[in-house]
């Protein structure tokens, strides 16, 4: 059986390693073959970008050589897919090669799309790529005081990022001794400060305690760089001296071009993770249209489910379990305290009071991640 994994991010890498271990015998006997196609020979620990933006991690700490993370029996090619040809069970790649498959897993992730809001890319700082996180750090270093506005697009990767960057900026300016010269103003698209009700119930009083102002029901419409004004779909306006954006995200262009899903999101069954209408195609991580968080932990838990199921398809001809919607997100509550939210399709999260111990665990996880990617943790 030819298993083709497209995408070398967290989900694709965990799945490939997981399958390589489960199917060791089948691979050796030539009954299974695992191939990964990726756009890069490097693997980035994306949550680390948050720390790069405030100067507490260096960009080179975020990368490992992708090949070094993969089990030796995985056929790895840096050759991004340019076309999915699902009716023929094939994909075409940038080099012009065509790869056949029996089972296809699409784990191509998402990308920020600031260009969808007029004026945003030119006037806001962001931290979703190495380049923009470093640029944001440089801007923060030069910032002397004024109104900092944090704004949030929908949908976006990492649902905790808006809160985390706000709490981390509070400590960043405090450490620089200019917190009294900075007004932090947070905006959020729905009627509370976070999508998770229990997280919002914890975060709003924290904002008030720290002197962070906020405005809810605020969906960005456009940015006027000349007057430094952010306008919302709801009709309100806010002035800023420094604008920090969590832009709306989209799936990859190749997904949309191949007609697999609007805006690059592929219609996916929420428990089997099959692409709708395709029994031999699975979707993993941000690329799905499942109504859960676009987060590394989502991809991780989905990859574990798919690892069990695809291995079982090879060995038994049937899948063995369903994905239950499990997500686990750390929440940095500043530079030295953190909490977490864990939930699934049936169980809401119940975040506890932030602690230093959880922050240290998060810092440890920033290193342990590489064990996760290898499929060991």
């Amino acid at each position: 059986m030819k298993i083709l994994i497209v995408g070398g991010g967290m989900g694709g890498t965990i799945l490939a390693n997981n399958l390589a271990r489960r199917l060791q015998g089948e691979v050796k006997a030539g009954k299974a073959r695992i191939t990964m196609l990726s756009a890069s020979d490097r693997h980035m620990y994306q949550p680390g970008l948050l720390y790069v933006a405030v100067g507490s991690m260096a960009p080179d700490e975020l990368y490992r050589d992708q090949r070094s993370l993969l089990e030796p029996c995985i056929n790895f090619h840096v050759d991004p897919v340019t076309e999915f040809m699902l009716d023929a069970n094939q994909v075409k790649t940038q080099s012009g090669r065509v790869f056949d498959y029996d089972v296809l897993v699409i784990a191509t992730g998402s990308r920020m799309a600031p260009e969808t809001i007029p004026g945003l890319a030119e006037n806001a700082e962001t931290f979703y790529t190495e380049e923009t996180a470093v640029k944001m750090l440089k801007t923060l270093r030069e910032f002397k005081g004024g109104k900092v506005v944090i704004t949030v697009g929908v949908p976006h990767k990492c649902p905790m990022a808006p809160l985390e960057i706000t709490f981390m900026l509070n400590d960043y300016f405090k450490d620089r001794g200019i917190r009294d010269k900075v007004q932090l103003h947070y905006t959020y698209p729905i009627g509370r400060v976070h999508s998770l009700e229990n997280v919002a119930k914890w975060a709003a009083p924290e904002f008030e305690r720290l002197g962070i102002t906020y405005e809810t029901f605020f969906n960005m419409k456009e940015v006027d760089g000349a007057t430094k004004t952010l306008k919302s779909e709801e009709g309100s306006e806010v002035k800023y001296d420094l604008l920090i954006a969590i832009p709306a995200h989209r799936g990859q262009e190749v997904v949309e071009k191949s007609g697999l899903g609007q805006n690059g999101w592929i219609p996916t069954n929420r428990t089997s993770l099959n692409m709708e209408g395709r029994n031999n195609v699975f979707v993993l991580g941000d690329t799905t249209n499942i109504p859960i968080s676009k987060a590394g932990s989502t991809a991780h838990f989905e990859a574990e489910t798919l690892g069990d199921n695809i291995a079982a398809l090879v060995k038994l001809g049937i899948p063995v379990r369903e994905y239950d919607g499990k997500v686990f997100c750390f929440i940095e509550a500043g530079k030295d305290r953190a909490t977490y939210a864990m939930f699934d399709y049936n169980t809401p999260p119940d975040p506890k009071a932030p602690s230093k111990a959880l922050h240290w665990f998060k810092l440890a996880y920033n290193k342990l991640y590489w064990t996760s990617a290898r499929g060991l943790l």
């Binding site: 929908v154 649902p159 998770l196 929420r270 109504p291 919607g325 939210a341 809401p348």
Partner: protein
């Protein structure tokens, strides 16, 4: 009659039904309708509240076996 787009946000705690609607509306044409399925009874209030604030139209809400069906028309 315009075909309704179904946004199945049952069991969605994060990003949640309203965020799913906001994302879904970006992929729709003006005049098109979306029916949000939600297992959060709060959707019966917060979706119409946002829809009114932003200038879309709330067509109706009904509940069937613990699932709220909130229908919205994109107006701009």
């Amino acid at each position: 009659m315009t075909e309704k787009r179904v946004i199945d946000a049952r069991g969605s705690f994060c990003p949640g039904p309203l965020m799913e609607l906001i994302a879904g509306l970006k992929m729709m044409q003006v005049g098109e309708e979306a029916e949000v399925l939600s297992t959060d009874k709060g959707s019966a209030n917060d979706i119409p509240e946002w829809v009114k604030k932003v200038g879309h139209a709330h067509i109706g809400t009904n509940e069937e076996s613990g699932v709220w069906h909130v229908t919205v028309r994109k107006m701009k």
